[in-house]
């Protein structure tokens, strides 16, 4: 779980924008989440954060910041967290969940 429309702020670094995010892990079988940033056409956009893949225990709430260059902000649309699934030794389907926030503001 992440907010739909996260808060975008100026950072302490010139020409770098900070996005304050939080993630809540509601899936008991998942421990790791990956952070990605995309444009409207789902092409990757460069960003920086402390951990691109971070460990979040079940029912744990974790806050993290994502730093994006000011010049990339007009293109940046989707900030997503994707669950990382573990390899299994059974014939089954695994569910990878992805929640995407929008950085270009709430719909009018």
């Amino acid at each position: 779980m992440t907010p739909a429309y996260p808060e975008v702020k100026v950072s302490h670094v010139k020409n770098v924008i900070k996005v304050e995010m939080s993630l809540f892990n509601s899936r008991e079988e998942i421990k790791y989440y990956q952070i990605d940033l995309f444009d409207l056409n789902w092409m990757n956009i460069p960003f920086s954060t402390t951990y691109r893949i971070m460990k979040v225990e079940y029912k744990e709430h974790k806050a993290f910041d994502v730093y994006i260059r000011k010049r990339d902000m007009p293109e940046a649309v989707y900030l997503c967290t994707t669950s990382k699934v573990r390899k299994t030794d059974q014939s089954r389907t695994l569910i990878s969940s992805r929640i995407c926030s929008r950085l270009d503001g709430e719909p009018a």
Binding site: T2, E29, S91, T93, I95, C100, R102
Partner: protein
């Protein structure tokens, strides 16, 4: 002196302060796995999550706190994430459906869904919980028997802010 202490203690009021509890509801989406899917092997060349084929359909629950803020986008598999070595092609089919809803109006999601390739999109126009199940089937090329071993495929369940 005793009387004045008694009078003062009667006049003393406990210190009271009102402490407010504030909160706000933001648009948020939660995806949970209600049931893990598994493949049945009804014939030697086929793996299927359909119960009639001995499989189990994976079920995901989407909880959204605000109406009309998210799209549920669910992609059924088109490859195995792990399997024994395969020398022939695999024909994949799949579909995603609404199986349960917390609000009666959500039953319209099924008729309004859009399918693009192997991805099914649902416009989550109401707040509450919706359960989706994904069927997945893989048939090995030219009806060859699938090699023995474990097969795993991934369903991608996305919740995308509008």
């Amino acid at each position: 002196m005793k009387y004045s202490i008694a009078i003062l203690s009667l006049c003393a009021f406990p210190a009271l302060a009102n402490v407010e509890i504030t909160g706000s509801v933001e648009a948020k989406c939660v995806i949970q796995t209600t049931k893990s899917g598994s493949y049945g092997n009804p014939i030697a060349s086929k793996l299927s999550t359909t119960p009639a084929d001995g499989g189990v359909l994976p079920v995901m629950r989407y909880d959204v706190s605000i109406a009309d803020a998210y799209i549920a986008s669910i992609t059924h598999p088109t490859s195995f994430s792990s399997s024994p070595s395969l020398t022939d092609t695999v024909a994949w089919t799949g579909s995603t459906s609404v199986t349960q809803t917390s609000v009666a109006g959500m039953s319209a999601y099924e008729a309004a869904k859009t399918v693009v390739g192997n991805t099914t999109n649902f416009n989550l126009t109401l707040a509450g919980s919706t359960w989706f199940s994904t069927a997945s089937s893989a048939v090995y090329g030219s009806a060859k028997p699938l090699p023995g071993g474990n097969y795993t495929a991934i369903v991608q369940a996305s919740c995308i802010a509008k």
